[in-house]
Symmetry: D2
Amino acid sequence: MSTLTCGIDIGGTKIAGAVVDATGEVLAEARVESPATDAQAVETAVASLVTRLAGDHSFGAVGVGAAGYVAADRSTVLFAPNIAWRNEPLGDELARLTGLRVVVENDANAAAWGEFRHGAGREVDDQLMITVGTGVGGGVVSGGRLLRGAYGVAAEVGHLCVVPQGLPCGCGNLGCLESYGSGTALVRNARRNPSPELLARAGGDPAAITGPLITRAAFDGDAFAIEQLAEIGRWLGHGIASLVAVLDPGLVVIGGGVVEAGDLLLDPIREAFDRELTGRGYRPRAEIVPALLGNRAGMIGAADLARE
Amino acid sequence: MSTLTCGIDIGGTKIAGAVVDATGEVLAEARVESPATDAQAVETAVASLVTRLAGDHSFGAVGVGAAGYVAADRSTVLFAPNIAWRNEPLGDELARLTGLRVVVENDANAAAWGEFRHGAGREVDDQLMITVGTGVGGGVVSGGRLLRGAYGVAAEVGHLCVVPQGLPCGCGNLGCLESYGSGTALVRNARRNPSPELLARAGGDPAAITGPLITRAAFDGDAFAIEQLAEIGRWLGHGIASLVAVLDPGLVVIGGGVVEAGDLLLDPIREAFDRELTGRGYRPRAEIVPALLGNRAGMIGAADLARE
Amino acid sequence: MSTLTCGIDIGGTKIAGAVVDATGEVLAEARVESPATDAQAVETAVASLVTRLAGDHSFGAVGVGAAGYVAADRSTVLFAPNIAWRNEPLGDELARLTGLRVVVENDANAAAWGEFRHGAGREVDDQLMITVGTGVGGGVVSGGRLLRGAYGVAAEVGHLCVVPQGLPCGCGNLGCLESYGSGTALVRNARRNPSPELLARAGGDPAAITGPLITRAAFDGDAFAIEQLAEIGRWLGHGIASLVAVLDPGLVVIGGGVVEAGDLLLDPIREAFDRELTGRGYRPRAEIVPALLGNRAGMIGAADLARE
Amino acid sequence: MSTLTCGIDIGGTKIAGAVVDATGEVLAEARVESPATDAQAVETAVASLVTRLAGDHSFGAVGVGAAGYVAADRSTVLFAPNIAWRNEPLGDELARLTGLRVVVENDANAAAWGEFRHGAGREVDDQLMITVGTGVGGGVVSGGRLLRGAYGVAAEVGHLCVVPQGLPCGCGNLGCLESYGSGTALVRNARRNPSPELLARAGGDPAAITGPLITRAAFDGDAFAIEQLAEIGRWLGHGIASLVAVLDPGLVVIGGGVVEAGDLLLDPIREAFDRELTGRGYRPRAEIVPALLGNRAGMIGAADLARE
């Protein structure tokens, strides 16, 4: 019997798939454009990607990571923010199309599981992962198990309220961590009052300021850019202090695109966390480290979840 | 072999013990004054209470709930706020004194486990319990297991930061949920600007305003007292919305002394929670219910934890 | 010599003018559509409105209230939010076109002056007026004199920051009072989570919920609508407590469209103010009353300012 | 007739007096210990200080600056925080004891007037002064006149609420600017988590950390101390942005003991102010400068107010 499984990560613009072995090694990889918001077309595309990967490697199960709320049956997507899935039996549908066993998981949970099994969290039993990209997501592993919640929608750490009556969030609430600590917040803040230097890098157009541009400027020593990263880092550290009070992980892993800024993001996170963790001095303190698997974490985690 | 176990709850002023059967029924119960802050005297008192209970019933194990950070070995108290325990091998010491197997757990965790096994949470697998007394504590059950964290100090839900740079908390931080949603907050708020009616109930002395006095006034229809309970309820509901975003429990159980106010506390909690839960409308919504076991929850839970 | 003057109020959609006597009585009144954003066309329209009013009554001076920053020369508009005036010599231009003496004032200041001279503030020397409409504006009279500031841009009370890192404001800042206490905030809040009753009044369409609709529902006893008005009232009372700490007026006058809600708005303002005014109990307390002159306050005030 | 007047500053521990000429020059100066909280003893001490100063110079009037709410009659102290004056006719009493005309003013107002007439604000007509010491106080000059308010208690700028539900203030409110931007806040913050370097300067005792110690460390380049000053500076700049939106002064003067830190305090104030002033870019911007008269500002201002 094969020890290989297939992991799929359904993103907003791309669908990525990989064949992964029991050690987390990626043996083959492929990706296709995502047919965007057409729910059925996405399923067809995933199925054909699976079939393509199955051409060279034999595997018995498929794990799928998808943005949205995934029910406890690990098949049904209750709600997806970007695709018109409402109570969609995604796993059953893909099983029908591929003839394989399929397990569906929230994409941030899948990435957290990937880091836990084969990345930054290999050595611990309790891991909090925070993904800092356009939004702020996360995944929690507790006692070696993925914390899925009663309805499969746990670990929405970006929607911790950090400022009562604060900035509006896409979720409809005010003051969510995501509104202060995401890549979107980074860019919004920088565009509001850009320094002349940063504006010059953007060709004089505030709208051309992007996250990677800020990060590059920061690596070049631009004080304004460094402060922009520090600002979102402080908010993330503040939120992590609250999350650690609740979850008490042995390790906090920071992933997502913005973590490319490295210690320019991580040090402000660590400083705020150290300053604000309740009971500091009377308890061991979880380390905060960058993720190791990059954007393959979701596929690797999904593949591993299918193995169980 | 006996199916009975003993549960101990070490409180600030009393130590309570019970013999509990596998259904959670309390067969015998006893309590002694706590020798306050003398660490060794507390251990001696617990041991003698266990011996006393063992006179009539035979049991093979003891579960102990204690305020403080309890290490993953379920024996060592890393730090206790009220007793001079620092890295105290409480479980080993009690085992030596009683000759029985001893399991130590944080008291709020023990109470949460009690409600989960034999109280309000019997029907669910994922339960968040919030204890609203002098402080705000809690316990989390996820997938049928107690969420203890890497260092045994999880579920410090009272130290979620809800107001950046807000009211000082006993933990040294600013803006903790405990500073806005506890019984202490209830009394502090009411004393600041008491209504003439409430002040009259307190014999004209603001310092004589207590939580039970506010609750009695509220039951009598006093609008000011009702608003005071609603105010802390709104903060609790606000905090629970954040906690549920992270934990996704199937049920939220509210315990502690302040829950005696019943729906005068619970309805404002529910309203704020309903208004602020992220993704509301796209996910099942956890019910918020009062605890069932009162102040026996800790003993019953501790006894059950010793059974495992 | 005539004791009559002319008062002009340049609004976003209408330009209103009146001939006013020394007692504040309006002898004649006229209005025209505003040519919107065309700066010169607005000046021509004002001049022709003045000429029309001058047909029946003789007056020697014109007072003009306009949204924007008006320089200390009381002629130059430094910046207007809705019209393309930048350092526009509005007063000089109108004087040239009409052959009359012209005094320009910020529109909210003009309205505050009108209430002070001939409306709710007749009896005091120190008055704070807050105008609650689409935005939150204001005007301050101190020691019988309009507080204009060094650059004629004082009393921007809607841009007091009440929530650090809070809701974005049209001015580019975060957390301005205007974002919490304006008619716009009232409607935004109500649309976010409308009660079924209010939604039914709006024909099922959240976008059809307006300020007047909320006010009517509140007058009919709709609890949700009453709470919406109370919410913005509490924020206004909160802001007024800060403003009174700085300005110590003898009277606070609330004007603008939202004050049509009467005590449903004013009582929550008063309660929050009473609860939060610094030094309460050790100082006389300014009363909070509705404006008396309605939308004529600006014209009447502008006319009076031209008389001085 | 003499152009000299006498200015008195009644502080918490000292009473200082000076004979001042019309140009603000101090011709003679004396001080006595304050008999603390005994109201009548303070009056006797002031009177004897005046008599002593009158020995060498002839003056016709006395100006007195005192902490507290001073009524519009400029004689009656409605309430004083540190002395048992309640509706005390301080001016009349001192006039009786000294035989001279006496004018009483709030001490922060007197200091603001001193800077306006003979210090940093000589060139402007509209000045906001903020005094940063144990607390945060202030005084406002508008159109060349002291803004006293209807009840003589204006310019309590330290009690602007900057954090809803924030840190408790001595005034009984939550979240006042004083709780974030005062010397007391500076010391409280530094003591909470002192750096090893700062702690070493304080001989290892957090309680020995004082404002001057922090300032000295900052001048020596201690990064932690610099950040402590920057933190209160940012809050002050944040508060000043709100105050300038309301008052539109031509100049902001910063006085009080903490301003000894110079640009280490002033630059963070300026940066936060520049970032947060509403309408920035469309209006002239008030400069922020240090006070010039030090702790003589109150005496000089009081003397000048007696001259009018």
